[in-house]
């Protein structure tokens, strides 16, 4: 037995003991999670996807709503557009607009030398048609002959990369996919956060207070459960119009119900724990008990549920957008892109394939992480 502490010994202990750091259950869980290869790989992939979605649209060189009318539904390819066999017809088209004929055309590097002839003098100003096309930049007259009936011009070719191809409006699919990822992930994360905030607070309060209040709160949940989701969304859309924020609200307002039930169940068992009774015996207020003892101990299942909720929400949003209740053009989300891709599946498979890869990849990763987290947080594995 040590003797009674003096201020000196306490002070000494304080100074020497500062660096000792306990290993919390969370730290334990983290080590276990990191050891799970599938989960770790998923975290890396997901981080990569998220960064790509945030930064990507800025560096692809295309705007998400920029329309290339000359590149409608071009397939994905590594080489830059235009392809050599696209140039000929394009030049023919422009020439006919200028009421001229193409006598010869030759591509050297990134420049096209074109010789135009016409029965009448060619108006140089009409060369602006080249610039208006998505294939070329400003044409420069090299020489004129036959009183202007023959015209030789150098036209620089505008090189564009469409790694994922373009959609039926001629917009770059890579940019759109990444931009859609922003929306989908944002809805996923925000709606989940909303759902979890409401659900945890509601469930923990109902479970901890118990009795009549619990009954009342949980019956409210039951009533909301019984509302068909689509009906609920249509109702919201009718009243408030289509709105990005509304999506969070609609999805969040439905998904917190599950959360509330899970947390309530957890709380019921936690409130019988002696540490909660000990806190009651200390005179801690209800709020304090909920905040310090109940909620932190429900977080294990909550975190797991959260990783499973994010994909669910993304899918829900896709579903709503598929039905036309979701985000509006030119804004887009993975769900919208996939819906569009599905419509064009016969001629242009790339429109379906690329957004699908991103969506399923993300969902895959989230599910793996959820699985890993569940294993990592399971106290029985300890």
């Amino acid at each position: 037995m040590s003797d009674v502490s003096t201020p000196d010994t306490v002070a000494a202990a304080l100074s020497t003991s500062a660096p000792v750091k306990g290993r919390s259950l969370w730290a334990d869980a983290r080590t276990r999670l990191v050891r799970n290869r599938a989960a770790l790989a998923s975290i890396v992939v997901l981080t990569f996807v998220a960064i790509a979605c945030i930064v990507g649209p800025l560096v692809t060189g295309h705007d998400y709503d920029q329309v290339y009318q000359d590149y409608v539904r071009v397939p994905a390819q590594w080489q830059a557009y235009p392809t050599p066999d696209q140039i000929g017809p394009a030049v023919d088209r422009i020439a006919s607009r200028m009421r001229a004929k193409v006598e010869s055309q030759q591509v050297t590097g990134d420049t096209l030398r074109v010789t135009l002839t016409a029965p009448r003098a060619i108006d140089e100003r009409l060369l602006v048609y080249f610039e208006r096309s998505d294939l070329f930049r400003t044409a420069k007259v090299v020489e004129k002959a036959d009183e202007g009936k023959k015209l030789v011009a150098d036209v620089p070719i505008k090189r564009n990369h469409f790694l994922f191809g373009t959609d039926s409006n001629g917009r770059d699919l890579l940019t759109r996919t990444l931009f859609a990822g922003r929306i989908s992930l944002a809805i996923g994360v925000l709606a989940t956060t909303v759902a979890i905030l409401i659900g945890v607070l509601w469930g923990a309060t109902a479970g901890y207070l118990g009795g009549r209040i619990d009954n009342l709160m949980m019956r409210a949940v039951d009533v909301l459960y019984s509302l068909p989701f689509i009906f609920f969304v249509i109702l919201l859309v009718v009243f408030f119009g289509r709105n990005f924020v509304l999506m969070f609200l609609a999805v969040g307002a439905v998904e917190w119900l599950d959360m509330a039930r899970i947390v309530r169940g957890q709380t019921l068992s936690i409130k019988r724990q002696e540490y909660v009774q000990a806190a009651e015996a200390l005179g801690v207020t209800t709020g304090g008990i909920l905040r310090r003892h109940v909620i932190p101990n429900t977080l294990g299942p909550v975190v797991v549920y959260m990783t499973l909720l994010v994909p669910k929400v993304i899918l829900l949003e896709s579903f709503l957008s598929f039905l036309g209740l979701g985000v509006q053009e030119p804004m887009t989300s993975w769900g919208v892109l996939i819906a569009e891709g599905a419509k064009n599946i016969q001629g242009s498979t790339w429109m379906l394939v690329f957004p699908s890869i991103f969506l399923t990849g993300t969902l895959f990763c989230l599910n793996f992480i959820g699985d890993g987290l569940r294993d990592a947080l399971d106290p029985k594995d300890r």
Binding site: S17, E274, T285
Partner: protein, 537 residues
């Protein structure tokens, strides 16, 4: 040692666990033999590896554990066998009983089916034959109305009955070795004695060997032929029971034997003012009516108890589980709705609500039995200890709280650096010290101690009792000490109440109760307490 070939033989058995902190060697080179028909006791404190040794024998180690060495059953090596091969031995030649009868039966199976399962798996019995045998076994282990019990679910049975069912399951295939891992620890004293008698009787009739894992030396003395003392994963001493008890060779064994809480408490002076005065305390639980109405019944958990506790005094409350002793403690702290009157110093507590009680909570504290459940797992020890300060002294700064936490930890003989760590990093005894520190930091007047030593090893119990006595002297505290362990109660209390079914059946000073117990229940408690008391002499 017996001259016969051993039925179970362990050679250089090592058990290791892979953990995040590297490898943990729980059992270090254990070698021992169990002769047919012999009762071998393995004793040691928690963490000494006594359970893991036998778990390794049964192939029941946790998934991160593995065993090396040799385990032979009647000359056949069983270590490293696949689960399928091992099942030829498990349940047929080796039977096992676990500590916790509440959780070792599957709640979804009927008793009869649980017992039949190993019979049908090993004995290839038909369903009818297995059922007949199950009935026979239930009769054998002394379950009342065995015919009806075959179709009962585990939750319809009491703890003692469940342990009997566990024994029946273990005996189903007439094993040659029965491994009993603390089979009586979770049971009431009176039930304990019955279960031990049953085991002794069964052993006589079937001549099997029993390996008895326990920390209760009283049981060892009464039942074991030979004792193996384990410490830190190694065997430190083995020998015939009488020999080890009369002439322990190792200091550790002597320490275990002497670990009974000793010493008495000085009673407070007669003129010391009353701290708690309770009259006719009643707690009734309304049992729910059936779905279609029916009779609603009441359970009188505490039925008219009077109590007077003086400054510096300790009242011990003893009784078996369900006697209402814990409920009484909670009723006095107003943590459970109760009728009657409770006065604290000069105030009547009964009319006070939750908010009215809050300022008084500082002076009325509670320490729980389970040192694992009573500390919030996601808070640091420092946060746990100082939570009361947040409530009762909200003005205290963070650094001051930290200082007070360090001081409180020193007071309960823990390293102050512990306050940055989490409860799961501590042993049971250390956690109980943390729980005591949490109560003491508020400088209370009354502490209700609800079985604070029951979940702890004997040697740790002794330290906790010493600590409680020291704190009481130092701060002139009053204790309401709830326990079923008379040896601990004797070391701490001035006065003892014996409770049964919510009523006080016997009360008196500690000397009176010990000198001349009146009630049969008190006598049974005394017998159990003296059993281990004799062990020391």
């Amino acid at each position: 040692m017996s001259a016969e070939a051993p039925i179970l033989s362990l050679r250089a058995l090592d058990v290791r666990f892979r953990t995040t902190d590297g490898e943990l060697r729980a059992v270090r080179g254990v070698s021992l033999d169990v002769a047919p028909g012999e009762t071998l006791a393995i004793v040691g404190e928690s963490g000494s590896g006594k359970s893991q040794t036998m778990m390794a024998v049964m192939g029941l180690l946790a998934s991160n554990g593995f065993a090396t060495g040799s385990v032979k059953v009647a000359g056949e090596e069983i270590l490293g066998l696949s689960p399928r091969e091992l099942n030829r031995f498990r349940g047929s030649r080796l039977g096992m009983i676990f500590q916790e009868p509440m959780t070792s039966l599957d709640p979804l199976y009927r008793i009869g089916d649980q017992i039949s399962e190993p019979l049908r798996a090993h004995g290839k019995m038909s369903k009818g034959a297995a059922r007949a045998r199950a009935l026979e076994l239930l009769t054998l282990v002394g379950i009342p109305r065995p015919q009806e019990r075959l179709d009962s679910y585990p939750h319809e049975l009491s703890g003692g009955q469940r342990q009997r069912v566990m024994i029946a399951m273990a005996l189903a295939n007439r094993p040659e070795v029965l491994i009993a891992d603390e089979p009586t620890t979770a049971l009431d004293v009176t039930i304990q004695a019955q279960i031990l008698e049953l085991l002794a009787d069964l052993k006589r009739r079937f001549g099997m060997a029993i390996v008895f894992i326990t920390h209760d030396l009283g049981i060892v003395r009464r039942f074991a032929d030979r004792v193996v003392v384990m410490k830190g994963g190694e065997i430190v001493e083995t020998g015939a029971t009488a020999e080890v008890f009369s002439q322990p060779r190792e200091a550790y064994t002597r320490m275990l034997l002497a670990a009974e809480p000793t010493g008495r408490k000085e009673p407070p002076p007669n003129d010391s003012p009353p701290v708690i005065e309770a009259r006719d305390v009643r707690v009734t639980f309304q049992l729910r009516k059936g779905f279609f109405g029916g009779q609603s019944s009441e359970l009188k958990a505490v039925d008219g108890v009077d109590l007077l506790l003086r400054r510096g005094g300790t009242t011990g409350v003893v009784g078996e589980s369900g006697s209402g002793k814990s409920t009484l403690g909670r009723a006095i702290l107003r943590l459970t709705p109760a009728a009657g009157s409770v006065r604290y110093e000069d105030r009547d507590l009964m009319p006070l609500g939750r908010d009215g009680m809050r300022p008084l909570r500082k002076q009325l504290q509670l320490v729980f039995q389970d040192p694992f459940g009573s500390l919030s797992p996601r808070m640091t020890v420092g946060e746990i200890i100082t939570e009361g300060l947040l409530v009762h002294e909200p003005g205290v700064t963070r650094s001051e709280r930290d200082r007070r936490a360090a001081q409180a930890l020193e007071e309960v003989s823990l390293d102050p650096s512990a306050r940055n760590r989490f409860p799961h990093e501590f042993s049971g005894g250390q956690r109980q010290r943390i729980a005591i520190a949490r109560a003491m930091i508020l400088k209370p007047r009354l502490v209700v101690l609800d079985e604070p030593t029951s979940a702890l090893d004997r040697s740790v119990q002794k330290d906790i009792v010493d600590l409680l006595r020291r704190l009481q002297r130092q701060y002139d505290l009053s204790y309401l000490f709830i326990s079923h362990d008379l040896s601990v109660v004797r070391a701490l209390s001035d006065e003892i109440l014996v409770m049964k079914s919510g009523k006080v059946v016997e009360r008196g000073t500690t000397e009176q109760i010990f000198a001349d117990p009146q009630e049969p229940y008190t006598k049974a408690l005394m017998a159990a307490a003296f059993l281990s008391a004799q062990a020391i002499e």
